[in-house]
Symmetry: D2
Subunit: 112 residues, 4 copies
């Protein structure tokens, strides 16, 4: 998997395990539960859409990139909360588009 997504997954899992709501935003989200995490996914999707309309007008994409990062980040927390992760999402995308990432994964699975 992508080095950034792989590292981020590791960070997210560590913070989930620690379970110290005060010290970590991620632990706090897991502590508050799925509904709170999904509210954040919906909020960030809305902010992404608003930022895209503003980017269409201004020609600047910096805020849109930040909102999309928020959206992807919170959807990774959601996947983690339910026992899945970004690798499954990337595998699904690779499968749909017939990308070689899937072959690599298949060869990884072969080796197990």
């Amino acid at each position: 998997m992508n080095e950034v997504l792989a590292e981020l997954t590791k960070v997210l899992e560590e913070r989930k395990q620690k379970g110290e709501p005060d010290s970590s935003y991620v632990a706090s989200l897991h502590h508050k539960g799925l509904n709170k995490i999904l509210e954040k996914v919906g909020e960030e999707a809305t902010e992404t859409i608003i930022a895209a309309k503003d980017a269409e007008r201004s020609g600047r994409t910096d805020l849109l990139v930040c909102e999309t990062a928020d959206l992807w980040f919170h959807s990774m927390v959601m996947l983690s909360h339910l026992g899945s992760g970004p690798q499954e999402v990337l595998d699904e995308l690779a499968r749909r588009f017939n990308l070689s990432g899937l072959e690599e994964k298949a060869s990884r699975l072969d080796k197990k």
Copy 2:
């Protein structure tokens, strides 16, 4: 960048360039314009949230993974439509979480 996201970006750009709405879903989205693309982002965010509530109940995440893939895919089409892409989003995530992916990118930039 992640091999899957990098390859998918390439596929999405090729289909965007071709501009044959009939033959490609991606070209058709670009042809219909930003509002149509954002409607799909909102739709897929909603379907992701519903699938997460169903996954909470059933313990199965396969549909959730598919909906999240739809959400990420349509947000990549959105970024591409506005002249950005997933690399910028991953850089933003790496920067926030102080991940080494950023150092790698910095060293790539140094070599240019």
Copy 3:
């Protein structure tokens, strides 16, 4: 209740009862189930937000009014599907804002 909302509620309940998916959009939504209805609520919320951004720019609100009507309509179908309706929503708004609509309702309840 508002004559329009009251009449619309009656129409929606009649179409729900009939249960002929082919002949009525409302019956078809109830037949497809809650997830389909909620997908429509999410879709229409997204289209309302996009239309509001376009209205901000153009100064024209006709499309925004149509999208908001779609949003309210589908949220009424959602309430009906789960055994509630717009009267409960209006009562809640009256209660929060200390509106006389609530007193009228209280006096209606007294007469029962």
Copy 4:
């Protein structure tokens, strides 16, 4: 128009006019601008969808009614911010469903 929606519209317009962000939530929303109002519309749509999934499971609709009230309330603030209001939405619904509310409105317009 519905007595509750009509009264609420009056309250919302008064608070908008006053423009004292500290003393009124509605004035504060108008002061922060359209994007903030639309973020709230998106947030409340998400919370409505989550509450509907929970209502499906529990059979209780009280929280769903509150979230739908939040959604309708914030969409009324949005309409007001852009120079429209719930009457236009009700007229659109009456027109679509061929309800007598529209005839009443037509007769009101005749008298002007």
